[in-house]
Symmetry: C2
Subunit: 245 residues, 2 copies
DNA sequence: TCAAAAGTGTTTTTAGTACACCCATGG
DNA sequence: CCATGGGTGTACTAAAAACACTTTTGA
């Protein structure tokens, strides 16, 4: 490769975060309202520029801690993909590395910096067929890709546990699957499947705290050591899977 | 977001291509030998810088056509992930968006530009336990990630057909699976599985050309319209799946 | 005592596996 | 005529789906 400067035009590199959680049985994503142009007043994914001395992963981790106020972040963070359409940001050439985070129920973040407001949006509120907010840049596309990634990851990894607190019941775990996939699952079969998969969950000895409502007290589990599910827990036919835009 | 220039330090953005094919029943990846420092004499993935007016996808498509000499490229191209460790390129800050390509057997590319040589490397030649060539930058990591992506994609998409010519026999399709996964599959069961999956392959009327060796003439198929396999074709336990480095 | 949630059991259906076997072709 | 690859059939096994049922708690 030659050193002709025209061969490597300068780009700004940013990260965008699609942080998902389950609140009241509904899958939701965190958006912030932009206070400045471009797209002032629009909702956008939280994010920021990658600094000169850090990797995109570092930038995503840093922004995630800033945005949620929690360090270390208790959930799961992974790279989604990179968006690089030339005019996706009208100000300048910005390449954005998008990340997906799976979070247990977090406190609603306090606004700060250029952010006017921040709130959780149920994924249904952003679904294509509904009246939905206008998102900044290509963030509707990123949200759709991110949500599809979340739904797919639940099939072949145990990452549904990343939506739960450190100790959880099988009912809570099932609620994660049902919220993300938009279906109801057969409880006995779900239970058998989870317990039959080595390393998915580990039993925690001790009674279940009876703060979670009526019914018999449930056994508590924590996340196991497996990183993949063999065989996978495939979503049923009618499961939700939307494309925004 | 403010317009403080320190917030968006300049980066060079590059694409790297991990192009895989099946040759003589072996899965192989295309590498080029670098002629200039850094890493002169090392083998590297083909790639180049993203130009000011194109997306990373465009750059990958362009490089793929240049590298293989074929436009349009007959196989499948998809984004893998982005690598952004601060010192991955000693010259300057380079963020690289890596792509994976699935190719039918291509002619060995002619060198050109800064490339001294180019050749196909069997994935076994790059496996961790063997004496293997030193790869430039973090390309051993990218190759490993890319190969894992290929092996996984065969499970739940019909993209094995992208390794085959436009018309192919079920034996050739099975050979793709066996080469990538490093296992032998039961032919009757593989056949049933493929034919039972709607949209995986379509029958092509007409006889099979008897140029492919001995045995009875095989029926010809072409790729179907499905984009995913329901249910997936999971690799057996002993299937190959290596991490380089 | 009833609704809600946890947990167990059983039957049916489906998908996957492991084979044995015949056919067509080229050397 | 036999090795090689294509194609069919069939029995066995494992997993998934559907659903009935008991238990434990809070209201």
């Amino acid at each position: 490769m030659k050193y002709d400067p025209r061969e490597y035009p300068p780009f700004a590199v940013a990260v965008d975060l699609a942080v998902f959680t389950i609140r009241q049985g509904v899958c939701a994503v965190l958006l912030v309202e932009r206070g400045v142009d471009p797209y002032a007043g629009c909702w956008a994914l939280p994010g920021g520029f990658v600094r000169a001395d850090e990797s995109a992963e570092d930038a995503a981790t840093r922004e995630l801690a800033e945005e949620t106020g929690l360090a270390p972040f208790p959930g799961h963070l992974e790279q989604l993909r990179t968006y690089s359409t030339p005019n996706r940001d009208p100000r300048m050439r910005v390449v954005s590395v998008a990340y997906v985070a799976f979070a247990p129920d977090l406190p609603t973040p306090r606004p700060g910096g250029d952010v006017v407001r921040a709130r959780w949006w149920a994924v249904d509120e952003l679904a294509p067929s509904t009246e939905r907010p206008r998102l900044a840049f290509d963030h509707d596309r990123i949200v759709a890709d991110a949500f599809e990634r979340v739904a797919a990851k639940l099939e072949y990894t145990p990452l549904a546990t990343a939506f739960c607190p450190a100790e959880f019941t099988l009912g809570e775990l099932q609620a994660v699957y049902e919220a993300v996939w938009g279906v109801s699952l057969d409880r006995p079969n779900f239970r058998r499947k989870v317990l039959a998969t080595p390393g998915f969950v580990e039993r925690v000895e001790g009674a279940a705290p009876q703060v979670r409502g009526r019914g018999a007290p449930a056994a508590l589990y924590r996340a196991g050591k497996a990183t993949a599910l063999h065989p996978p827990l495939l979503r049923p036919e009618g499961a939700r899977s939307f494309r925004v835009g």
